[in-house]
């Protein structure tokens, strides 16, 4: 990405490893409760960290319920509404190795912000087939929605200001499980 990234410094820790794991465990239980079990559910994670979170949720549900739910990967670059505004589009590919027809798809993302990514993801999923329903799980809801989108499962509601950013760090990518609020460094 060629978007100039200002340096950020950590302002506060929001979730530590234990709290992050607890939030995912709770979401897994809520998914089973709301859907009356794990029948016909499937996870679709948004690149990159949503996919990792989707795999973790799938493992939790396997531990609780004994059912292994499939996990797909969605790249929404081709569905963005700001192509040409962000520099070179980096396509990393969609890989959903199962049919989503007649499934309840649980879309997983790390941070829910304006809702534009989710809007693109909904279009992308519907282009792949007709699921019974789509539900949205995200680890952090930081507010500032620009579209009428509401998550079904939330790890933590986190009021933020627009100039701050929320970084979800996961062991698989960042070597640690932690969520922090960052703010731009003053010049």
């Amino acid at each position: 990405m060629s978007r100039p990234a200002p340096r950020h410094r950590e302002k506060a820790q929001v979730l530590d490893e234990v709290a992050l794991d607890r939030a995912l465990t709770r979401i897994a239980h809520e998914i089973l409760e709301r859907n009356g079990g794990a029948k016909d559910l499937a996870f679709v994670g948004l690149r990159t960290r949503g996919v990792t979170l989707a795999h973790r949720l799938s493992q939790k549900i396997a531990q609780i319920d004994g059912t292994t739910l499939p996990v797909g990967t969605l790249d929404i670059t081709l569905y963005r509404d700001d192509l040409g505004m962000r520099g070179t589009p980096v396509i990393r590919g969609t890989d959903i190795p199962f049919s989503i027809k007649a499934k309840t798809v649980i879309l997983v993302d790390d941070v829910l912000f304006t809702g534009r990514t989710i809007r693109a993801a909904l279009d992308a999923i519907i282009d792949l087939g007709r699921p019974t329903a789509i539900q949205l799980a995200c680890l952090i809801d930081r507010g500032h929605r620009e579209l009428p989108i509401r998550p079904d499962y939330i790890g933590k509601n986190l009021p933020t200001s627009r100039r701050e950013s929320v970084a979800v760090r996961l062991k698989e990518h960042d070597g640690e499980d932690r969520v922090v609020i960052e703010e731009p460094e003053e010049a």
């Binding site: 192509l83 070179t88 396509i91």
Partner: protein, 312 residues
């Protein structure tokens, strides 16, 4: 890293990192071909014009499919049945098309440099889909994508390009691309069809098919254009086929057992390739065609989606 060019004109101009970006983007887009609904909205509202002054099946069709799968509006222009037959010049036709504000113009022309001329004259992005015996970058890119999928990497691979090197834009684009990616290229053909400058491009030269295919990972056979015979460059098709035709027998005797066979098409069956080889297990000819759509999607997406493009 990123894509900043307005146009895709030659492989010669590209950096290795840009070639890899194009191949990676195409590889990620291949999944669309397997979908039930083969359409994504990435280039909605963009217009792609195919401006073809030479006949083409694969290239024009695959640019058209690529544009449509990305939701662009694709307009096909071919020289026959247009104002060209009323005597309008190439550049006038192109300027008239540009006046209709397309985002990308894909051009094929029998003159080397035609795409570059348009790139200079027109504000929209230009893709060279073959200009004379000069370059055909999207063909080289799809060849590279096909090779990487089968072999997993580029560095260190050895490719033999066999046939009419002198008149082949495919050979030239591939030599440039492959050399930049650390591959070894041997060109082979009758001396009349090997241009004097190939060694300057970093390719080795061989004048015997048996020697050229001995130690290579990929054999790329080129189409022999029948006009070369009337021009006196080869004595007869039969003789060409006898010395330069790739047959099962020759493959078994001289090539590695895992060698891959490529051909940019259209194939002269029984001339440069025997039908058993063209349809055989190591033939990637149809893989190349499928990859062609993905490569052209990648090219259109990177050109139309680059920053400072028209925005969204």
């Amino acid at each position: 890293m990123g894509w900043t060019r307005k146009d895709l004109l030659t492989m010669r101009d590209l950096e290795a990192s840009e070639i890899v970006l194009l191949v990676d983007t195409a590889a990620s887009l291949q999944e669309i071909a397997g979908r039930e609904i083969k359409k994504v909205p990435a280039l909605r509202g963009k217009t792609v014009v195919n401006l073809f002054y030479e006949s083409s099946t694969r290239t024009r069709t695959s640019f058209e499919i690529a544009g449509k799968w990305l939701s662009a509006d694709v307009i096909n222009f071919s020289a026959s049945g247009s104002s060209t037959s009323k005597g309008e010049s190439f550049i006038d036709t192109a300027k008239n098309i540009a006046a209709m504000s397309p985002d990308v113009v894909v051009v094929r022309h029998s003159s080397a440099g035609a795409a570059e001329l348009l790139a200079r004259e027109l504000p929209c992005s230009i893709v060279n889909a073959g200009d004379g015996a000069h370059e055909h970058p999207t063909q080289a890119l799809l060849d590279l994508l096909t090779i990487r999928e089968k072999k997993g990497h580029f560095e260190g691979l050895h490719v033999a390009i066999v046939g009419d090197i002198a008149h082949s834009r495919v050979a030239r684009s591939n030599i440039h691309g492959m050399r930049k990616l650390g591959m070894t290229v041997t060109v082979a053909g009758p001396p009349t069809l090997i241009p004097p400058y190939v060694q300057e491009l970093g390719a080795k030269v061989s004048y015997r098919l048996e020697d050229a295919i001995g130690d290579v990972d990929v054999i790329m056979m080129l189409r022999l254009q029948q006009e070369r015979m009337t021009a006196g460059l080869i004595p007869s098709l039969r003789e060409y086929s006898r010395y330069w035709g790739l047959t099962l027998d020759r493959l078994a005797k001289h090539a590695r057992p895992d060698v891959l066979i490529m051909h940019p098409g259209p194939v002269n069956r029984g001339v440069e390739l025997s039908p058993e080889v063209a349809d055989g297990p190591y033939s990637l000819i149809l893989d190349q065609v499928s990859r062609g759509v993905a490569v052209r999607m990648g090219v259109l997406l990177l050109l139309a989606g680059r920053k400072g493009g028209d925005g969204a």
